[in-house]
């Protein structure tokens, strides 16, 4: 088992208050890694080790929702066709999916490499499964992701983009499950399948049959979205799927009245349902509110560049900066705490300034960054200089 020291590493230590202003205090210390875990922190010189030159140690990032199959990323520039709705985009996929398949291995690899360079060690990857492409995109994604298991963990979601019922995708979804898909995906049971109850029933049945978690993309607006969300909660309860359900996008949470928001937040929290968001800055879902109500929130880029949209960067630090800017989280503590949306809840300090991470026995998946604090990293989008996955360096600038 490997054992080594990281020397001169910067760790956040606490908050220092001075006339209303808060500053993050850090210390330069040494930290020992044994196997895939942190084992001890020691201020005294351990002798041999990797000199981190005062770089700040922070938890590595999680990309919680990204389509890695039907992408233009890494290929020639393509803008989107003008003025098409969801159904128009789906129509495009009939010719587009087979056309894009030959280029997919290279482009999927480029997305994964990009995400590693941006500090991610976990990817929740989305992949079309439908009558157009069958499980070909799924197989291709799986094969490629498997070559990166020394650098990250992943979950691959079989995603019935064209509507589970609408496009008769159930047999293909079943096939993907047989082939080992990690998560049962779903999409807009009302808007696309026009049958909220049966669409969700079929999704959860499949999940129960194969004992897999569920990840449903919900782009339905306001009361319809809220209705579907409540039915997802019902099913989660009925199937005993607490802690195993994610709702992606969940745009209906934006702009709803405080009473409804409170009620749905309570349910989502009680059922331990995760909300994953790409943070539409112009009409964001109320992330800080959800967080305070005990709802798990995770961030994802959704798409980098494809026939739906062309603006994704894969840079989660930038996304955190946008979240902070959007919700006016500009003070030191709020900025630092924003980090948790991209780390599965981990921050070096809690809101009171107590150190929570790293502790011995935490998995040594982390990044080194050229910043004086998490707050600075996020506000100023400082560069990542190295990424470690389970105690091993997988990227350095």
């Amino acid at each position: 088992m490997q054992a080594y020291w990281l020397k001169n590493v910067r760790l956040e230590k606490g908050h220092k208050k001075n006339e209303g202003a808060v500053k993050t205090e850090t210390e330069i210390t040494n930290i020992k890694i044994v196997g895939d875990k942190f084992s001890e922190i020691s201020a005294s010189d351990p002798g041999e080790g990797i000199d981190c030159k005062g770089q700040l140690l922070l938890p590595s990032l999680r990309e919680s929702h990204i389509h890695i199959d039907k992408t233009y990323f890494g290929g020639p520039w393509m803008s989107c066709a003008k003025g098409k709705d969801l159904f128009g985009r789906l129509e495009e996929e009939k010719t587009l999916l087979p056309e894009l398949l030959p280029a997919m291995p290279e482009r999927t690899r480029k997305i994964i490499e990009l995400l590693i360079g941006k500090g991610h060690t976990h990817i929740q990857a989305q992949c079309n499964v439908d009558p157009i492409i069958g499980t070909q995109n799924y197989r291709c994604a799986k094969e490629i992701l498997e070559t990166y298991t020394d650098k990250l963990t992943y979950q691959l979601v079989a995603f019935p983009q064209h509507g589970l019922l609408r496009s008769n995708s159930l047999p293909y979804m079943r096939q993907a499950m047989e082939e080992g898909a990690d998560v049962v995906g779903g999409v807009d049971p009302g808007l696309l399948d026009k049958d909220v109850k049966n669409s969700l029933r079929a999704t959860f049945q499949l999940a129960a049959e194969y004992d897999r978690p569920v990840d449903i993309h919900l782009h339905e607006q306001n009361s319809l979205g809220l209705y579907s969300m409540n039915r997802i909660c019902d099913m989660t309860e009925e199937y005993g799927w607490q802690g195993r359900v994610t709702i992606g996008s969940a745009v209906a949470l934006s702009g709803i009245d405080p009473g409804s928001l409170q009620a749905i937040s309570r349910r989502l929290s009680q059922l331990d349902i995760t909300i994953s968001s790409s943070v539409a800055l112009e009409s964001p879902i109320p992330i800080p509110y959800l967080d305070q109500a005990g709802v798990r929130v995770a961030l994802g880029h959704d798409s980098l560049i494809d026939h739906f949209s062309c603006f994704g960067t894969g840079d989660t630090i930038e996304k955190l900066c946008n979240v902070a800017s959007c919700f006016k989280m500009t003070d030191e503590v709020s900025l630092g705490q924003v980090m948790k949306y991209a780390t599965g809840g981990i921050t070096p300090l809690d809101a009171d300034g107590n150190r929570r991470w790293p502790t011995s026995d935490d998995t040594a998946s982390f990044m080194l960054v050229d910043a004086s604090s998490s707050a600075e990293l996020i506000a100023r989008r400082k560069p990542i200089t190295a990424l470690y996955f389970k105690g091993r360096c997988v990227f350095h600038a």
Partner: protein, 403 residues
């Protein structure tokens, strides 16, 4: 001295593509530059070699110079230790905190301003309008420092707005503003005549009096929302008309335009158009003024970065193109032509092609001001924000990316 820029990618038109998409057509050109202007423009390989330096751009795309039409470079924390933002209860408290900063930071204005300009330049901006604090705390120190910084850069064109951040009447800044104009400021600034000065008519009149005294234009921050904001705009138009200041006035932010109903917006935009009043937006996601409608109604709209990391907020990249990207994202403009046209928000309206794909830029006689990037077209640049590889101003390379 004559120089030839070889293998420069320029946009030449649009063409239809599959799935109802549109693509930009480009071609490689050789551009001959002399005396800071374009004197030759030919397809690559056809330029006559008449001596002079040759610079091979290797197929990089050229775009017009980027213009940041509203930026504060004097207050930035760049070059200092990290400062997050101290929470305050209201604008008065925020101003008090800033006042302390201004006093503390009086002697580092030039250094910090330089860092801000370097950041802007690295993003391709070679023309900027900056608002510099003029108030009892920094007095004229911020003006002195930022002017010294700006003048030390070659190829940066700038306009300086003397900005009474703490309120023109509220802090009786007229004598200081007068000094500022004598020291080289170009425009009279202003801020929320109702919200800060609590005297819409008096504050506007004092602003216009100062402008008229120096024959200068006005660029006023108007953050006020709703009816007060719209009322202030009306009074501002009245004065612009009475004092015959056509084309000399800019309203920055103009958030109240978000609150105008369609009839009000049309009427207001009509007045702006007739009086040549421009709107500059920093396009914050939560305060998006109706840019598209304003443009359609004939009002010139420009973008700027606003503060780059100061006591008002810890964010800011100095990239005016990022503002354009956000504009496209928020308005779901992801088709080729919309993306390409949006570029104009960061170039004072200059785009390589018009909406029909006719070539507008560059033309013979245009200043040799370019941003060079590794990209296929303007639309790609707006959507993907590639690095700025090189920046030319007046025929001289003023920035080159070494990363």
């Amino acid at each position: 001295m004559r120089k030839v820029l070889k293998n420069v990618r320029l946009e030449t038109g649009f063409q239809e593509a599959d799935l109802g998409r549109v693509e930009t057509i480009t071609a490689l050109f050789d551009i001959t530059v002399e005396g800071g202007r374009i004197i030759g423009l030919q397809l690559a390989g056809y330029a006559e070699n008449e001596g002079g330096a040759v610079l091979d751009l290797g197929g990089m795309l050229a775009l017009p110079r980027l213009v940041d039409s509203h930026v504060h470079i004097d207050k930035t924390y760049l070059t200092m230790d990290f400062h997050s933002t101290q929470p305050t209860k209201n604008i008065e408290e925020r101003l008090e905190l800033e006042a302390k900063d201004l006093i503390k930071m009086r002697d580092s204005v030039e250094t910090r301003s330089r860092a801000a300009i370097e950041l802007l330049l690295a993003k391709g901006t070679t023309k900027l309008r900056h608002h510099v604090n003029v108030d009892p705390y920094c007095e004229l120190k911020n003006l002195e420092g930022s002017l010294a910084a700006l003048r030390s850069f070659k190829g940066i064109d700038f306009e300086t707005v003397a900005f009474p951040q703490h309120g023109l009447l509220r802090k009786q800044c007229q004598p200081l503003l007068r000094e500022a104009m004598k020291m080289g400021a170009d425009l009279i600034g202003g801020i929320d005549p109702g919200g800060l000065d609590k005297d819409v008519e008096g504050s506007l009149k004092a602003t216009f009096d100062l402008a008229n005294e120096f024959g200068a234009g006005i660029d006023m921050h108007l953050h006020e929302r709703g009816a007060v904001g719209l009322y202030t705009m009306e009074r501002l138009c009245d004065l612009a008309q009475a004092r015959d200041m056509r084309g000399m006035i800019t309203i920055s932010h103009g958030f109240a335009l978000m609150d105008a109903n369609p009839a009000q917006l049309e009427a207001m935009a009509g007045r702006f158009r007739d009086l040549g009043i421009g709107i500059t937006s920093t396009y914050p996601p939560d305060r998006r003024i109706p840019v598209e409608q304003l443009k359609r109604l004939g009002v010139p709209v420009k973008f700027g970065c606003d503060g780059i990391y100061d006591s008002w907020g810890p964010f800011g990249t100095g990239d005016v193109l990022e503002k354009v990207k956000f504009y496209c994202m928020f308005n779901k403009l992801s088709d080729e032509i919309s993306l390409a046209q949006a570029l104009g928000l960061a170039t004072e309206g200059v785009t390589p092609l018009d909406e029909q794909g006719r070539r507008l830029w560059p033309k013979l006689g245009d200043p040799a001001d370019f941003v060079f990037l590794r990209a296929s077209c303007s639309a790609e640049v707006v959507a993907r924000l590639p690095q700025r590889e090189a920046v030319m101003s007046g025929g001289t390379m003023v920035y080159q990316n070494v990363k």
